[in-house]
């Protein structure tokens, strides 16, 4: 019994050690193997999870694990030494922070675009039709904090529309804005189109015209400390080809 446990433990350790074996594989080798970790913005959660499944199906023996979070939080984690292979950001400034810190292996590529939408309660009980409605008094509006990309984009859109909003709260990430509206605590918020789509029937979306909308660009890059660049680069190629179709299904536009 004990021998078997020890044996199993040994195998696990060997498997763990071998997860970095891919590094030694010659570049361009068709047989990809091993594991990569992808740091990705919260708004990519549903789309990337689907892409990961498809990628693993077409590349047997590989594994893609995701760490989703606010783009800026992920950058600070990578700067503090979090080990991973790929970073996909919801905006350019956060990607730039990583480039300035010399933590990227190559130039980033924009793989998707996202737009903003007003999120309202199911059935739009407050009859909100435009950004200027968000300035109405007596309306509880929730936005992302200015530090988070969605907060900065929302501020840009409101400025373009010439609307001043007094938010009830500045939430730490876009999903928190969504849940405050879904729970009925807030009447409206500004989130990405993809979030409204992912929330399903819990909320409704009100479109923001292109003239005042903001285009969020999503860049992706291989990290300098990647232990499996072959697999990381194969994953990015997949995102740029077959992945587009999947991302479009979740509301993104692709270049």
């Amino acid at each position: 019994m004990r021998a078997r446990v020890v044996g199993a433990l040994g195998l696990t350790v060997m498997a763990a050690l071998c997860s970095s074996c891919g590094t030694s594989a010659p570049a361009g080798s068709p047989a990809l193997s091993g594991t990569i970790t992808v740091f990705a913005a919260s708004s990519l959660n549903e789309g990337y999870t689907a892409i990961g499944k498809e990628f693993q199906k077409s590349h047997p023996g590989t594994m893609v694990t995701f760490a989703f979070g606010g783009s800026s939080m992920l950058v600070s984690q990578i700067q503090q030494g979090a080990i991973g292979d790929v970073y996909a950001s919801a905006d350019q400034p956060n990607m730039q922070k990583l480039i300035d810190a010399r933590l990227t292996a190559e130039s980033p590529i924009v793989f998707a675009r996202n737009n903003l939408e007003i999120v309202v309660g199911k059935g739009n009980p407050k009859h909100i039709t435009s950004l200027s409605d968000l300035g109405r008094s007596g309306l509880v509006v929730v936005l992302c904090a200015p530090a988070v990309p969605c907060g900065r984009y929302a501020a840009q859109a409101l400025q373009k529309a010439g609307v001043s909003v007094r938010p009830a709260s500045q939430e730490a990430d876009v999903k928190a804005v969504l849940s405050k509206v879904a729970l009925g605590e807030a009447d409206a918020g500004i989130v990405y189109i993809t979030d409204v789509k992912a929330a399903g029937t819990a909320v409704d979306g009100v479109a923001i015209p292109a003239a005042v909308n903001v285009v969020a660009e999503y860049p992706i890059v291989i990290l300098k400390d990647s232990q499996n660049r072959a697999l990381a680069s194969a994953f990015i190629s997949y995102v740029l080809t077959d992945g587009r179709r999947i991302l479009e299904r979740y509301g993104f536009t692709t270049p």
Partner: protein, 270 residues
């Protein structure tokens, strides 16, 4: 003179090496993060960070909310502690477990529960809004409520322990001398459990000061209204790490002061 000491060889047992090593690692586990914080502190700009409007706003709100939460906890928690310590009634242990539940409950879960109770569509929230015009989510009152919810159990169990361990014969004597129940409570019971009251209030205040999860979930985050220090630390970490470190240091100093102040009363150290 050495002889009497040697006759008690068990007085200072020598520890086995593995214990010493593991205990050292355990202690290092707690100490190293503190050293990390101190080493990364931007001491030269610390004073400026501390004086910046964002930090001062968060500090002011944190003090207001944590002291208010402690006051509410004293008003509601002391009677609760007295009830648990002195009365026996069916369901007492269940009720007691429910009131101290926030001590082990993840604070975010507490925040969700508060939303479902006091939110606009919550159990009482709609009634509070239509009848009294009271709105709790996204207000300072909501932040105070969240802090009270998480911190009050610390006061309740500390005061209850004090009440249980006190000598009730003083109360009996006062009663036989003709004092009313109310007089006994005010003039005998509460003065006797004063150390527990102080310890409970300080622990409650410290917990309220550090509250994060329930506050951000229930009250949201807005500077000057609901953004207390822990929330400011969390958000500053992304944009202004220096400010986050300085704020963390302030919270650390307060926590340490509380522990040192209470070490005899509550932690049982001699």
């Amino acid at each position: 003179m050495a002889l009497p000491l040697r006759s008690q060889p068990r007085a200072r047992p020598s520890a086995p090496l593995p214990i010493v090593i593991l205990a050292g690692a355990g202690a290092a586990f707690f100490i190293i993060p503190l050293i990390g914080l101190l080493l990364r502190t931007p001491w030269t700009s610390a004073w400026n960070e501390l004086g910046s409007p964002e930090v001062l706003t968060a500090l002011r709100l944190s003090l207001l909310a944590s002291f208010s939460a402690t006051a509410i906890a004293l008003v509601l928690g002391v009677p609760l502690a007295w009830t648990f310590a002195r009365l026996t009634f069916p369901g007492r242990s269940v009720l007691r477990a429910l009131t101290v539940l926030p001590m082990v409950l993840p604070p975010v879960v507490g925040g969700v529960a508060l939303l479902l109770a006091f939110g606009r569509r919550g159990l009482l929230g709609g009634w509070l809004a239509t009848t009294f015009g009271i709105h709790l989510p996204f207000t300072t009152a909501g932040a105070i409520l969240a802090e009270t919810f998480v911190a009050m159990p610390f006061l309740v169990i500390t005061v209850e322990a004090g009440l249980r361990s006190m000598d009730t014969r003083f109360e009996d004597a006062a009663r036989t001398l003709g004092a009313s129940r109310w007089t006994v409570l005010w003039r005998v019971t509460l003065p006797l459990v004063r150390p527990s009251l102080i310890a409970g209030a300080v622990l409650c205040w410290a917990r309220a000061l550090g509250e994060f999860g329930a506050t951000i979930t229930f009250a949201g985050n807005f500077p000057g209204r609901t953004q207390t220090m822990p929330l400011a630390v969390y958000l500053a970490l992304e944009t202004n790490p220096d400010a986050a470190i300085v704020l963390s240091l302030v919270l650390l100093a307060v926590s340490l002061a509380v522990l040192i102040g209470l070490r005899d009363r509550w932690l049982g150290a001699s």
